[in-house]
Symmetry: C2
Subunit: 356 residues, 2 copies
């Protein structure tokens, strides 16, 4: 009975919140489980030191079967082009074929107000993230740059299938709900009729014909243009359930949705493939607060819970989530500054540990 | 002393709000002005009837100097690919080289709460909107689609210049403000280092060296990754001033921002080129409420005010804006359902006319 988890804190507050999450993992698992953490390198800071942002050893550890799963922290983003540098998390997602980025956006159980309980299922391997770009010099001496956006039937089908499967599962849990779970397909096919048209067509086909009719029978589907989606997200967030989106739209709407639940510091994600899973907080490396001990560990703890649940430790994951909710709802005094509190990473982590 | 304005209501509620706006234009101009409205066709409904979404006559009227400016309503978007159909507003923007889409997002003067007063300056001719798409069949029988995203130095430079010029003007008006106007550059250069890297580089250069140093001396610049931008928009909307963005990001953040000021039904825009201007409400054709007489005319009235101001009728535009603000702040009872009221298009228009 053993569990080996890779830890890739990467940059900035990643180095504060990943240790917090690993402490909670350690505490929640039965003591009979032989738990191993394997520390792995990646990041922009590493690149600045060594010229390599994502060492081969890190990729290999995730691929060679020695790990059960991993946690990734956050990467710093140079906003200008740095020769030779490319985002290690984008590369990891692609190299490990972690084709889905699953991002639940939820208000804690017990919080007042209308509950938000949605999951954004973001395609994680293509769209503009294939980074196929070029720049040309025009006759008049100015430059024009081009990027290619790729939407494949295969990637669209597997992400849609994952979204509808998640919806099915949510339907099973919500026994007392009158309405079927809803999958909202996000696209911009009024402008991108071929690429987003394909994405939309495949989602519709998965809905109609997938899982031998189970999706059509047990879920509902609707669609939103991405601009309208962001608008509605803020007008009626409680109406959304599962949303499936190509990579960039998924990136944008999940950050937007985070504003609805208090802070990016509480929003978790799992990068999921057919054989591996990496938990990852949705927030960035937050250079402005890095090193101060005030980063919110909740997004990472929730990401760790997603990872454990993916690995079959469902009861343990549920205990982690419940402990987090209790701290969020009952201990406003302990919360970190992103949530308006004066608390610390350690303080929040200690409180979660206490309620496990 | 004559003014000739083209009216292109297009689809759905466009046919209700454009007449409302034209009534207000008529009322606000001095009676000495010989005002002509020229009715022009476009739209998806027109396409369904005639096979043409944007008649040559409409384009020609805007190009041949017979019009001083125009108003566009809204287009219905088939979300699936309809052979031969392409969005007439996207085409108009490109054909007339209306390279900027200027979208003010403001709370009315006199409203309670922290005021939002921002302008989104959206590039209007390129990015993924060049609609260069293709689809290929793979060896395994599945399809893969590609779209090209274009970012040119020339288009980036002129949109950045327009954004900083708008900021300069805002600075002149705000005499009593301690801080210089701020231009936020929105991009995603941590992933799209070449295309968005070029956009960012050009914006920075315009800031540093544009207008013979006036931008650097009299405005400030900062930047936001588009995902983070949407997040912050909802956390601290009052902090934004002028935002400049490539086409698609501009589309998304302006719809998002609309949620912060009550409704898409109040957000105006102007499509601006070097020689022509088209006022256009940001909302869509709203098929669900079309024909019911309850569409909010305020976005169109405000767009008409932007058009008049562009044509030099500044005092008249200001009177229109003030009348709209008065109705918004003092006549909640009259407002349309999108703003939570039970009012009608005609009722709101009549109230605006009364306060002119
Ligand atoms: C850091 C960046 C490349 C990344 C992305 O855009 O995917 C981040 O924003 C995220 O959401 O995980
Ligand atoms: C109708 C659609 C093509 C258009 C766009 O995406 O530009 C609309 O959303 C807008 O914002 O004007």
């Amino acid at each position: 009975n053993a569990l080996t988890i890779g830890l890739i804190p990467a940059d900035g507050i990643g180095r504060e919140v990943i240790p917090a999450a690993s402490r909670v993992i350690e505490a929640v698992l039965p003591s009979s489980v032989k738990l191993n953490f394997v520390h792995l390198d990646a990041g922009f800071e590493l690149f600045q030191k060594t010229g390599v942002a994502l060492p081969e050893a890190t990729v290999k550890a995730c691929l060679d079967g020695s790990l059960d799963g991993a946690m990734f922290g956050s990467v710093s983003s140079p906003s200008h082009k740095v020769e030779g540098y490319s985002s290690p998390i984008v590369a990891l997602r692609k190299k490990l074929d972690l084709y889905a980025n699953v991002r639940p956006v939820v208000t804690p159980v017990g919080a007042s107000g209308k509950a938000i309980d949605m999951v954004i299922v973001r395609e994680n391997t293509e769209c503009l993230y294939i980074k196929s770009e070029k720049i040309e010099k025009n006759a008049d001496g100015t430059r024009t740059a081009y990027a290619t956006r790729k939407i494949s039937e295969t990637a669209s089908r597997r992400i849609a299938t994952m979204a509808f499967n998640i919806a099915l599962k949510r339907g099973q849990v919500r026994q007392n709900s009158a309405s079927l779970p809803l999958v909202t397909v996000v696209h911009k096919s009024n402008v991108l009729s071929i690429t987003d048209g394909l994405f939309r067509e495949v989602c519709l086909d998965v809905f109609k014909n997938g899982a031998e009719g189970a999706f059509a029978a047990k879920t509902r589907m609707d669609e939103q243009l991405v601009d309208s989606m962001v608008y509605r997200l803020f007008r009626e967030p409680h109406k959304f359930d599962v949303c499936v989106a190509p990579n960039l739209y998924g990136d944008i709407i999940s950050d937007g949705a985070a504003a609805l639940v208090g802070s990016l510091g509480v929003v978790a994600s799992a990068n999921v493939g057919d054989t591996f899973c990496i938990g990852e907080p949705v927030h960035g490396s937050a250079p402005d607060i890095a090193g101060k001990g005030i980063a919110n560990p909740i997004a990472s703890i929730r990401s760790a819970s997603m990872l454990l649940s993916h690995l079959g430790w469902n009861a343990e994951a549920a205990r982690m989530d419940a402990a987090v909710d209790k701290v969020l709802v009952e201990h406003a005094d302990l919360l970190t500054p992103d949530l308006g509190g004066k608390g610390t990473t350690d303080g929040v982590t200690a409180a979660v540990l206490k309620y496990l």
